[in-house]
């Protein structure tokens, strides 16, 4: 099958802007989870992982005027996409045939939740914000900031959106529809989904503890990340040094429940197995798994059991959830954690799972607490699972 290279990465999360800030936080065990600073909500006691800049500051960083309608989701996406395009040497060159596929679910809800009641009155002051409500508008704003994109699309499979954007982009290269696909996702915190997760009683009032026996829920985060995917022919033609390979990916549906995972992780087993099969790999070749690991009692048990089923109870590779650093960046999680997994592979370290103390009785493995790998990291796997059982797994390999 045609090889797909990664030639650029860009990221913004609560750990800061860019790869260097992300790496430094991961190495220094510096979590981005803390008290809310920007989002206005009565649930301000819940720790979250906000990007450490106000929306005004993000506007200044991207040069977008105060009068221009935008969204925090779009602003974060613009910053992450800029880094990815720079790295791939694509910022200046506007070539036909480039594709951007992005994942988001919140879309422009941050504006809608602020202005909807006013929009319903005859007053017209805030009406134009309705045209920035759709998820697809965020993708347009991100793409059009740089230009040069010939096709866009937007995925929304809840918390696996960005991972499924990667699949769409990679498949477009594999079917010869494009030679360069930029893929990822962006999502800001909104009062709407913070409250939604709160009604589900899955938000921890303390920093999350993925794979710990005392885990009591997740912390919401926000962020954006993009990966530049490129065909072999394009890499050769442009003479660019690729970072790594997209080895395989798999998408499956748990088809069990709208918000809960099946007890034995059936959908997760399927998505991991499909990804391994597509990569032509045996489970023992995987050197690190960046788990979905939200920190909810249900996810970590279900995913943990799925990992034991896929790898064998005694052979689970090093596993960690970096949501203990970034919080759960929801629709962006798939690309945020793909970038983190690739950084781990390229820099030969295992991102640790913060806040782990007490092993879960039903699991044969413990998450990573020492960043020094016992063997070279050649292949990394990352899981992204969404509401509705939308499970997706991606595998990246060293060249």
């Amino acid at each position: 099958m045609e090889k797909i290279y990664v030639t650029g990465l860009g990221i913004i999360t609560s750990l800061g802007v860019g790869m260097a800030a992300t790496l430094e936080s991961l190495h220094h065990r510096k979590s981005g989870i803390g008290p809310l600073r920007w989002l206005e909500t009565m649930h301000s006691h819940l720790p979250c992982a906000e990007v450490p800049f106000s929306t005004d500051a993000l506007r200044r960083m991207t040069g977008i005027a105060k009068e221009q309608i935008t969204t925090r989701t779009a602003l974060m996406g613009i910053i992450a996409l800029g880094e990815a395009l720079d790295m791939a040497g694509l910022r200046e060159k506007s070539s036909l045939g480039r594709v951007l596929i992005s994942g988001t679910t919140v879309g422009g809800m941050e504006n809608t939740e602020r202005f909807f009641l006013e929009m319903l009155t005859p007053d017209k002051t805030y009406d134009a914000y309705i045209l920035s409500h759709d998820c697809g508008v965020c993708t347009q704003m991100i793409a059009d900031h740089y230009g040069g994109f010939d096709m866009l699309s937007t995925l929304s499979t809840a918390c696996s959106s960005a991972a499924n954007a990667l699949i769409m982009g990679a498949d477009m290269i594999r079917t010869g529809k494009t030679s360069i696909a930029v893929v990822g996702g962006s999502e800001c915190l909104s009062k709407f989904h913070l409250n939604g997760f709160h009604t589900l009683k899955i938000l921890d009032k303390d920093p999350c503890r993925p794979f710990d026996d005392t885990r009591a829920g997740l912390n919401l985060g926000e962020g954006a990340a993009f990966l530049v995917l490129e065909s072999e022919a394009s890499v050769i033609a442009r003479g660019i040094e690729p970072l790594c390979l997209v080895a395989g990916y798999g998408n499956a549906c748990d088809a069990y429940h709208q918000t809960a995972s099946s007890p034995e992780g059936d959908g997760a087993v399927l998505s991991m197995t499909k990804a391994l099969k597509e990569a032509g790999m045996e489970p023992e070749q995987i050197d690190y798994v960046n788990a979905h690991g939200t920190g909810t009692p249900n996810n970590d048990e279900s995913e943990g059991k799925a990992l034991m089923r896929v790898f064998g109870a005694d052979n689970v590779p090093p596993v960690s959830s970096t949501k203990s650093f970034t919080g759960h960046t929801t629709s962006a999680a798939g690309s945020v954690e793909s970038v983190i997994s690739i950084l781990a592979m390229l820099n030969d370290f295992l991102p640790v799972n913060l806040n782990f103390k007490n092993p879960m009785e039903m699991l044969s493995f413990r998450p990573v607490t020492d960043e020094k790998p016992l063997r070279p990291i050649r292949h990394v796997m990352t899981n992204s699972f969404g509401f509705g059982g939308n499970d997706t797994t991606c595998i990246f390999s060293k060249i």
Partner: protein
């Protein structure tokens, strides 16, 4: 590559789950019309039915109809396109939060507000653990889902796919979009269309999809170039691909209304009412465009 449409079903402002609109179209003279509901008792038990919003019920009913019609009970993929998702439940949760505060909100409306609720409900209903995805890209959300399905067939990953376009419109959202001149005099409607696709022709396919192309910010020249390129790869000159009259006046305007164009073309082609090769062009507000190449089987 040929992807065969085995069955198609709609719920809209026309009579539901049938092709009555061909001979006896219902006509309206209103700015906004909600769909004529089907009899959901055939598809859902009363308890599940009560829990679901309109868009979910319509999605289940059109999906089960194409499952029955095609005999494909366990499709390898379920892919949905929706511009605005489950607008009604989203509004319920939003309005409760804005008017009553953040204290006493109900989880059900949040759970049913995410866009992928539709595809996952269909998956749970059909017990399909295969490929499952949801596209939410403005006026080409449906065509994005169709393109994804087409690629999964091309890559040999699937033999069958249930693909749908779904959107609902609610009075408040209609009102605000109306204030900004979004509807441009066209009647706002709602979309629920399901297609069962397969890589094998089967006994009686309706039509076959030859290619799907999406474009962003295209100039007229860019669209023409994409048409030329696709035509040459399909081996038929551009003049052989006819664009049939739109059915928007029958089904109304919606983010996924292009699903009706494909549906109506497939129905008409099956009955020999269209030329053998047709090209459906969607140009959404000049920013997103799609081309669907459809041929007689």
């Amino acid at each position: 590559m040929s992807v065969y449409i085995q069955a198609a079903a709609q719920i809209s402002v026309q009579n539901p789950l049938c092709d009555d609109w061909l001979e006896n179209p219902v006509s309206y003279d209103v700015p906004f019309q909600r769909s004529i509901e089907a009899d959901y008792k055939r598809f859902l038990d009363p308890v599940s039915s009560r829990r679901m919003g309109k868009i979910l019920k319509r999605a289940i009913a059109t999906s089960l109809t194409v499952v029955e019609a095609s005999g494909i009970h366990n499709p390898d993929a379920i892919i949905v396109g929706t511009g605005l998702g489950c607008l009604e439940t989203t509004e319920k949760f939003l309005m409760a939060m804005l008017q009553e505060g953040e204290e006493f909100l109900q989880p059900t409306n949040f759970i049913n507000s995410t866009h992928n609720t539709i595809s996952s409900h269909i998956a749970v209903h059909l017990k399909c653990a295969g490929y499952n995805s949801t596209y939410v890209h403005l006026g080409i959300s449906f065509e994005s889902a169709l393109l994804d399905a087409f690629m999964q067939f091309q890559l040999g990953r699937i033999r069958s796919a249930l693909v749908g376009g779904f959107d609902e419109m609610i009075p408040n959202y209609f009102y605000v979009l109306d204030k900004v001149g979004f509807w441009k005099g066209k009647m706002a409607g709602e979309t629920a269309v399901s297609f069962m696709l397969s890589d094998a022709p089967g006994k009686d396919p309706m039509a076959c999809i030859k290619e799907v192309v999406l474009l962003h910010n295209p100039t007229k020249e860019r669209i023409d170039k994409a048409i030329q390129e696709t035509c040459s790869s399909l081996g038929k000159p551009a003049k052989d691909w006819i664009t049939p009259p739109s059915v928007k006046h029958l089904f109304g305007e919606s983010f996924t209304n292009h699903a009706f164009e494909l549906y109506a073309s497939a129905v008409k082609m099956h009955r020999g009412l269209l030329p053998d090769n047709i090209l459906l062009i969607n140009n959404y507000r000049g920013t997103e465009a799609s081309l669907i190449f459809l041929s007689k089987c």
